[in-house]
Symmetry: C2
């Protein structure tokens, strides 16, 4: 396919985009009508929205359109998993400049489709608009399969804090890329395309997680949301947090304490959950801290002390908030 | 509340926005967690996404933030109604410049909330991002209450074509505004804030509608989608289409045939549906045409003839498509 999205026109591009999609048994009406119809066998639907902007959340010189699609889908599908639900569907609101090559949009859609496939979901609809800044707005839907949602407000003193998935890899990859390097590949790839542990979300609900979030803004920032909603204090044991030797090497090379990436780097979409201490967690969950009775601010400490570096990412560039 | 969204910060503004919301009995988890949880008693969920950009879909000098909110919600909730479903929930992806007054965002949210209330739905979640262009991305959800969805592909030769709601009012209002006038108020108001006939959607499904869409791009364009999906031809009887005398007056004043607004003006979100001819339609439905066996292109004619003026709005500014 050649040409720009402007040359192809709105309806032409929509045809190209929808032609690439695959479906699942959950989809009874897919793209092309006023709305999609998706199974919600549980009688409830889980829904989450995220917006990614070029220049702010991705760069075309750092990531392919395909990777942007994978990442955009992943961060939304991870939100569904973080409620303990199984992702079922994804909708796309896409803003593209008329002069953008149409292949950028179709490759983005390939990425969305493939990441949905990993999570068991399908792209079921969307909207396409011309604008100056590439904007990828995603809504993901999911099904709880008769379990209660795992919200942020259920952590109780005495619970352990455990994580599964990757922490700090995307931030380390970002540090590499922003200094003009393209390796180590594993971290650059992690920045371009996160791999959220989707299946661990419903599994955590099954295990008895009392609270859960995905790490999108940074571990301390996101645990801060849990602590605030639950009215508790969380202490992270830095010695329990895995720092791969290769990440330490990058830290040394660029002059950054890699613990900073692990504790405040977002976008890997690890899952962090609290569990009653007596629950035996599978090996893929790593206990990294504990929940205590509320004890003023900050609500999250590292080895009993306030974390004085950035806790996470504030999209307005104001002072980062630790709550 | 004073200051810009940048001064308030991401979390500060999110707090202001969510504080304004009301809920319904359908919402079991509202804003503030990874995802919302909304009732889907039917076992299926209807979902639709639309994106509105400043400068393209609204202008801050023509519409208040409140009206933009009403309109953004209305166009999505109308998509749900056009499937024959009852709207239940709405999610917001909002891109705002840091220098925007925070009250613009909160008034937008008031508009979203109030339009949701009209339709029986609630705002349940969203995402907030800083960017250059105000972008309002909406996903609406709905429930079919055990009825089959009314899709675009069910129109059959012999069916009548009927509309309910307003046609051409928004386009006439746009014509008035774009010439620097602020009246007649009724048309300007219709452009700023459409009033889709939400309840008529499920009612049409109950009556036995064979196909239905909301008129978002223009009557001919949207009926073109029905005709294409159903593999039929549609003829509109222009003499059956209501043109209010005040609309004729505006047409005379600005030198436009008002039939143009009625047949190709979008954004009023009227509902147009096809029904078996033997069904007795309530007074609020107006029969304006008929469905025939497919007869080549164009698929939609007006009084047996091709409509040579614009059929509707193509967001990429390419040649309008009549299919």
């Amino acid at each position: 396919m050649k040409g720009t999205v402007g040359e192809l026109g709105e309806f032409g591009l929509i045809r190209e985009l929808t032609a690439r999609l695959t479906s699942t048994s959950s989809v009874s009406v897919g793209p092309g009508d006023d709305a999609a119809v998706v199974a919600a066998p549980d009688g409830r639907v889980v829904a989450s929205t995220d917006v990614l902007l070029e220049g702010r959340h991705f760069r075309r010189d750092w990531s392919t359109a395909y990777d942007v699609g994978r990442k955009a889908a992943a961060q939304n599908l991870a939100d569904i998993a973080a409620m303990g639900a199984h992702p079922t569907a994804l909708l796309l609101g896409l803003v593209v400049p008329a002069e953008l090559p149409a292949t950028w949009a179709t490759e983005l859609m390939d990425g969305l489709r493939d990441e949905c496939h990993v999570a068991g979901a399908a792209v079921v609809g969307g909207d396409l608009v011309r604008g100056e800044t590439i904007t990828v707005s995603i809504t993901a839907l999911g099904d709880l399969r008769d379990r209660a949602p795992v919200t942020r407000d259920g952590a109780r003193p005495g619970d352990v804090v455990a994580v599964t998935g990757w922490l700090g890899w995307s931030a380390a990859g970002h540090a590499v890329l922003s200094r003009g390097f393209r390796s180590p590949r594993a971290f650059v790839e992690a920045h371009r395309r996160p791999e959220p542990p989707y299946h661990a979300g419903p599994a955590a609900a099954e295990l008895g997680a009392t609270a859960m979030v995905d790490v999108s803004d940074g571990l301390i920032a996101d645990l801060g949301h849990v602590a605030e909603a639950s009215g508790v204090h969380v202490d992270i044991h830095s010695g329990s947090v895995d720092i791969p030797s290769q990440m330490s090497d990058i830290g040394t090379a660029v002059g950054v304490d890699p613990l900073q990436w692990v504790l405040s780097g977002g976008e890997d979409h690890a899952l962090v959950a609290t569990f009653p201490a007596e629950i035996k967690l599978p090996a893929r969950w790593k206990v990294i801290g504990e929940v205590r009775a509320a004890a003023g601010t900050p609500r999250v400490t590292v080895d009993e002390a306030p974390w004085t570096k950035a806790a996470g990412w504030d999209h307005f560039g104001a002072v980062p908030e630790v709550r």
